[in-house]
Amino acid sequence: VTETATAPARRTDIAESRTRLADREGFLAWVFLVPTVLYIVALVGVPFFLAIAYAFSDVTTGDPSYDWAGLENFRRVFDDDVFWQSLRNTFVFTLVSMFFIVLLGKVLANILVADFRGKWVVRFLVLLPWTTPVALSSLTWQWLLHSIYSPLDWALFHTGLINTEHVSWLGKEPHALIAVIAVHVWRLVPLAAVIMMVGLLSIPKDIEDAARADGAGYWRRMFEITIPLTFPLIAVAGLFGAIFTFTDAAVVQVLTEGKPTNSTHVLASWSFQRGIDGGDVGQGAVIALFLFPMLLAAAVLILRAVRRMETL
């Protein structure tokens, strides 16, 4: 009699502890997630809306009290030719960089997945541009492209490839922007290569082998197997490159400071110049706001590429 009484009791005990466990999971999930969510909301979410609010204000570093200024900042920003120049630069800069980053990243990824002696050293050297703090590597480029002591000029001049001894890369109009683009490409190609490497490594070996057995040559395999199969990751690498390029201020800030005569500014560096150096937070905020649409577009595209990867 006692046995039959305790058996169902034990069963309900277990069931009860199960539901308690489930309750605890919900509770745990809350406890685990809330600090992060609060932190992100407080220091990313709020500042994001604050940035929009500042665009319509007369806030300056000297007088931080908020007064509504309507579209005044927009008018003053649009009246300035440097803004349009920097908007144009940002697009030129992003499109050209992205093209080279994807192209060279693909080449580099192919090298990095191959097997060869000394691979570790090559990988270390190849990673340097990406892992080095951008301010430091930009300083090195500034020195490499120095108007008088550039070893690049020296080498090009003494091999007869150029006929001036001093090019002064950072002091002239198209050259300076080309230099900024080159440094960006140099810096982000390793990152793109690593992302694409992931794609190359995920292709099942037997597909490649089957194609090889069927007589498909290198280029045929590249265009009919590798690229279609890794396309989503190539897209992700390209979009990441685009976002980092579109929104980067550091290279311009260190390499050229917008010189010569504000011709190499991009939106991010111009926003810094106005908002921090110039102290005009309102104008800086307006300029930075122009980064947002592009960012949103890139984010949506990345999400679609990732979705496509999941269905593969």
Binding site: L28, L43, V44, V107, I111, L127, L144, F272
Partner: protein, 299 residues
Amino acid sequence: VSTGTGLAAPDVPERMRRRFARRHLMGRVGLYVLAILAAFCCAGPFLWSAMTATKLKADLFGGDNNPLIYNQEPTVDHVRFLLVDTDFPTFLWNTFWVGALVVVITLLLGLPAAYAISRLNRPWSGPMGIAIFFVYLIPPSLLFLSLTRVVVWLDLYNSTWSLVVIYPTITVPVSTWLLIGFLKALPKDIEEQAMVDGYSRLGAFFRTVVPLLFPGMVAVVVFAFTLAASEFLYALSFISATDEKIVSTGVAQDLILGDVYHWQELQAANILVAVPIAFIFNLFLARFVSGFTMGAVKG
């Protein structure tokens, strides 16, 4: 007739084999050439940097010297000057402790968040993962102006502590994403077994998940530290006092005295910072790669 075909038959594969061998050899040579070229393009500026740092002044700035070789004896004077007579050690120390604290905050926030998203099967897990990924894409250049005001409100302007508070906005999202990837690679049975053995969910998390996730956590530590050490825009916006600066702003701004660039010291600083970071990063590259793909692919 039969002997004739018998002789010709092995001949054809032999020719084919030789052709393949030649093609293979050319492929290998091409690969090495490309690998060396890639290494040179990427690391060339650092080579110039290292040479500059160890050249004598007369050698570096001597009118007709070939800049690509040492015309005079190399020297370590500039490196010594950098380490003894400049604020560089202060910058290094600031970078180090800011990075360490940022890493701790990142793990404290990121690890539980990643666990909640990937393991505790809530209906909002999927969207939350995507939301965290998007936060990573919001760049400093969009937020630096308003965050500068926030830092002023917090009374942290011109203090290295401002970076400790703000840098996790960059590192937490990406680290959470990485940790989600590592967690997905961890079999669920292990925790379930621990719970069968009598541990609570929380106990199972601490006793099985945290130790097993340790390699992934080390990777996250390296990644977050590197991100914190490389950041430039926030550090530039929040801090202008020399002894509160970190490496990236300190070297770029405060080792240049007026218009005088101490190129040799600057380049020495570059090498001293760049080489260790790249070295450690290289050790963990495979792990970053697996973390990112796990998070992305195994939805």
